[in-house]
């Protein structure tokens, strides 16, 4: 081996060239695979934009759904989605972060709590239709909330809670223990330690989890279909007890229409959905960066 000639100690056969080649191959494999994903995504975007862009207009945003493609809009669906997501966030974030705080900072490490931990991870893998059935039984029928924004938001909250809890717990766990100890040593109570130091330090990680969870919630169709979101709601909801429809449902309904124009409408709906998602994530990322900066 040529490389061993340069090695000072004869016991080593460092095979540098081989290792270098291996590093190179590995790096290229990673690059190819990630570009493959980006390529698929790009293809999807190009396809959607090319067929849907011409349908995007102010009327498209402000009109109610219609049987005539040129009059059809998604105002009620867009408003429904906004109502649903805001309500879901208002429910799921406080509940999720509190649960994570309890499990990490307060709960004793006993069997019951490890059982809960394992099951939260399991819940994250439950198919969304199951949550839909649960929501229908529990919220719509048993609690008599009806097919309302609130029922939908509660159902979606259940769906994304595991993700928020897991991400928040990881973020809280990553806060160095030395911060807690120094706060305690200065005569702080656990509440003061948690709210003044642990939570702010964990906030960027928590926000990442929230972004992922809400992004999932905004595109979910099955659970809100189950709790009774219907396709032809011509009015936007005015409160959390109103009936609603949502963008993914509207898109689904257009996509299965016979007329070919509706395919374009569906693509237009997807563009609006993606833009809404993008705007929501931008806000969350702004908050995350702000808290990150405050922590350095």
């Amino acid at each position: 081996m040529s490389s061993s000639e340069h090695s000072s100690a004869p016991e080593f056969n460092s095979r540098l060239e081989r290792r270098r080649a291996f590093s190179m191959i590995f790096k290229n494999c990673c690059a190819i695979l990630s570009w493959l994903c980006i390529g698929v995504l790009g293809f999807l975007l190009v396809h959607i934009f090319s067929s849907g862009w011409e349908w995007i207009s102010f009327d498209f945003i402000k009109n109610a759904p219609s049987r005539m493609p040129h009059k059809a809009g998604l105002f009620s669906a867009l408003m429904g989605t906004i109502w649903i997501i805001v309500t879901t966030a208002a429910i799921a974030i406080p509940v999720g972060v509190s649960s994570a705080l309890y499990l990490e900072e307060y709960a004793k490490k006993n069997r019951l709590n490890s059982f809960i931990e394992i099951n939260i991870s399991n819940l994250a893998g439950v198919p969304s239709i199951v949550y839909g059935i649960l929501g229908l039984t529990l919220f719509v029928r048993f609690m008599k909330l009806g097919p309302s924004v609130l029922s939908g938001a509660l159902t979606l909250s259940l769906l994304i809670l595991p993700v928020i809890i897991i991400a928040s717990r990881e973020a809280i766990k990553a806060v160095p223990n030395s911060i807690r100890l120094s706060a305690f040593a200065l005569g702080a109570t656990r509440f003061q330690t948690v709210f003044h130091h642990v939570l702010p330090a964990a906030m960027p990680g928590i926000m990442t989890g929230v972004i992922l969870a809400l992004s999932r919630a905004i595109g979910e169709t099955a659970p809100i279909l189950m709790v009774g979101a219907v396709a032809y709601v011509s009015k936007a909801p005015h409160g959390i007890m109103d009936g609603f429809t949502a963008l993914p449902i509207q898109i689904y309904n257009w996509a299965r229409e016979a007329k070919v124009e509706f395919e374009g409408l569906a693509a237009g709906g997807i563009i609006v959905l993606l833009l809404a998602l993008f705007m929501m994530n931008s806000v969350a990322i702004l908050i995350r960066n702000k808290t990150q900066k405050a922590q350095s």
Binding site: K109, P176, S178, I179, R180, L181, S182, A183, F184, A185, L186, G187, A188, T189, Q192, H196, H197, A201, Q295, S296
Partner: protein
């Protein structure tokens, strides 16, 4: 004889009989410096046993920490000295499975009494940790936070300034109080942590290897600081650095595998220890 026994015996005995050479019969405190110190010590542990699960880290230690003195606790790694130190401000509460038995007293406060709030213990007995651990906030907030949550009524900016001055850090940071504390060097961070503890005006300062992560210049800063602080504070320092113990402390406790081997004036421990193990350790023959 353990220092506790010694202190007890001293306080039981008639001061006048005890030390014939004493010429101040009107004084209650008539013994030599050491006897006075031991008798007047306010921070005491008796029969302290600390266990993690089934493992005993501290196996029945009797110790006193004389007031307004610096007591160094030395010993090989794993001898239980940090564990013992942490027990005195209830920091072992945060270690899963740690159990403290025996009597730990500060003045007339039983540190482990059920009715005692650990927060109160930590307000009176402050702690500086081995690694500098400033909060990821500004220098100002690092110091101001604890007084603020504890309802400090004075001028907070003034308190920050005096605390920083006492920790010999003011000159280096006065123009950037509102910058992040994480931008300071390791030595500055540690002095900030000391300043942070001082701002709470504790009565006792426990220091767990406060200089082990620092360079010699920062170390000497902190040692000077300790010598100044002992006028007002009782200081206990755990250290691996034998020279440091010899330089700054008035008393030295030598611990080995969970036991207190010897406790005496620092000069005695380093020049004329009674125990062979102590001599071996301080002369560098083991540990």
């Amino acid at each position: 004889m353990t220092p506790v026994d010694e202190a007890k015996k001293l306080s039981e005995e008639e001061p006048m009989n005890k030390r014939p050479k004493s010429t101040k019969p009107e004084s209650n405190i008539s013994g030599g410096d050491k006897e006075n110190d031991l008798r007047n010590a306010e921070l005491k542990g008796e029969g302290v046993v600390i266990s993690y699960g089934s493992e005993q880290a501290v196996k029945g230690v009797d110790i006193v920490f004389p007031s307004n003195k610096i007591t160094a606790v030395i010993g090989p790694s794993g001898c239980g000295k940090s564990t013992l130190l942490r027990a005195f401000n209830r920091m072992n509460d945060f270690i899963l499975g740690a159990k403290v038995e025996g009597s730990l007293m500060y003045k007339d406060m039983d540190l482990y009494d059920k009715n005692i709030d650990p927060v109160e213990v930590r307000l009176r007995i402050g702690m500086v940790f081995q690694k500098p651990n400033p909060f990821p906030k500004t220098i100002f907030k690092n110091i101001a936070w604890a007084p603020q949550i504890n309802g400090y009524t004075g001028d907070i900016a003034e308190l920050v300034e005096t605390s920083l001055k006492r920790a010999a850090l003011w000159n280096e940071v006065s123009d950037r109080l509102h910058d992040s504390a994480l931008g300071l060097s390791g030595g500055q961070q540690q002095r900030l942590c000391i300043a942070r503890s001082l701002a709470m005006k504790p009565e006792v300062l426990l220091m767990d290897e406060p200089c082990s992560a620092l360079d010699p210049v920062s170390t000497s800063h902190i040692e000077d600081l300790m010598l100044e602080l002992k006028e007002q504070y009782t200081i206990v320092i755990v250290t691996h650095n034998m020279q440091q113990a010899a330089r700054v402390s008035d008393y030295t406790a030598f611990m080995d595998s969970g036991n207190l081997v010897e406790f005496d004036e620092t000069s005695t421990i380093f020049t004329n220890p009674k125990e062979q193990r102590t001599e071996d350790y301080v002369s560098g023959r083991f540990g």
